[in-house]
Symmetry: C2
Subunit: 196 residues, 2 copies
């Protein structure tokens, strides 16, 4: 069965694009390479993604959304706000670290792509801080957390923990005491939120 | 009076090196350029700094030490631990922001130099976290701060505030609400330290 006998969906194009980026690197990957990998014409790819830039933005969004999806599932579980915050920050760190460690070349590729897709990254960060705002708000409602402006406090939590999710810190994630560093910052942040 | 009539001190060489780096950029600046700027032979420069790498390390240390000196003076003033911590973090942010904003080219030059001088940067960070440890310890002694391990807590404070001193975030320092972002993180950190 040739690849063309399957329906050409946006998702199949994005999968192939990631594979092409992995193989050729972000500088050399072209739409023609993607079309060739799928056994279709480049016109078929352009029918789904109008330009190469749009395709690169979409594949970046797909990569970032994979992190958000894990965390959304977690946020839906039944935890108290403090446990949920700890679990959420640990899951975010774990997801980023896994991406950086499991496939360093693909991670480096996406670091180039995120730099050229500021808007997609901005939307990703807004997604994450929205989830954090929801956790902070739940804690305020239950009387466990103090925050006059949950959105601003959530952003402060996101900034204070940047060392453990900002890809710029990926080299630090291999430090032998990185877990202890993470725990110490989370402890400081959780204590800062508590009404006590 | 020709420049050579002054005594050739290490400090004069470092001053000239910074000027040469500013003019030629980190890739092109040579020891011969430094010697020429001082009106001396390159041998005279090498008598103070054995190699070009040693000279580049020393000029990087001098640049970083300027930040530390301001903060050391502040730490000697008579403040309560919480006020001192707030003032220290604000002074660190201000010093870094001033360096980045006043002379962006020199700042970019030193970003290249710090990347090639990991040890010098490590010592600078150790200096800063030592000062923070002293502040945390004073707060623990006075009963205002809770910390079982002041050095670990100081490091957590340093990591939690990285957005406001790590040069990797220099582009974010121009955001219109960066002061509010800073205040929100400092508030979270100070609340996290308080015994209350």
């Amino acid at each position: 069965m040739s690849p063309t006998s399957e329906t050409l969906t946006a998702e199949r194009i994005l999968e192939a694009t990631e594979e092409v980026l992995r193989r050729h690197g972000p500088a050399k990957a072209t739409v023609v390479d993607v079309a060739r990998a799928l056994g279709v014409s480049h016109g078929s790819v352009y029918r789904h993604f109008r330009t190469k830039a749009v395709l690169r933005g979409a594949v970046t969004k797909r990569w970032l959304d994979r992190t958000t999806a894990d965390l959304t599932a977690l946020a839906a579980e039944d935890h108290g706000p403090e446990d949920l915050l700890r679990a959420w920050l640990a899951a975010l760190f774990e997801a980023k670290r896994r991406k950086a460690g499991d496939d360093p070349e693909l991670f480096a590729t996406y670091q180039v792509l995120t730099e050229e897709n500021g808007e997609v990254v901005g939307a990703h960060i807004a997604d994450l801080t929205d989830q954090l705002t929801q956790i902070v708000r739940t804690g305020v409602d239950s009387g466990e957390f103090a925050a006059t402006d949950p959105a601003a406090t959530a952003r402060a939590v996101f900034h204070a923990t940047a060392r453990f999710h900002d890809p710029a810190y990926a080299p630090a994630w291999r430090q032998p005491d990185i877990e202890a560093q993470f725990e110490a910052v989370v402890e400081l942040v959780v204590r800062g939120l508590r009404t006590r």
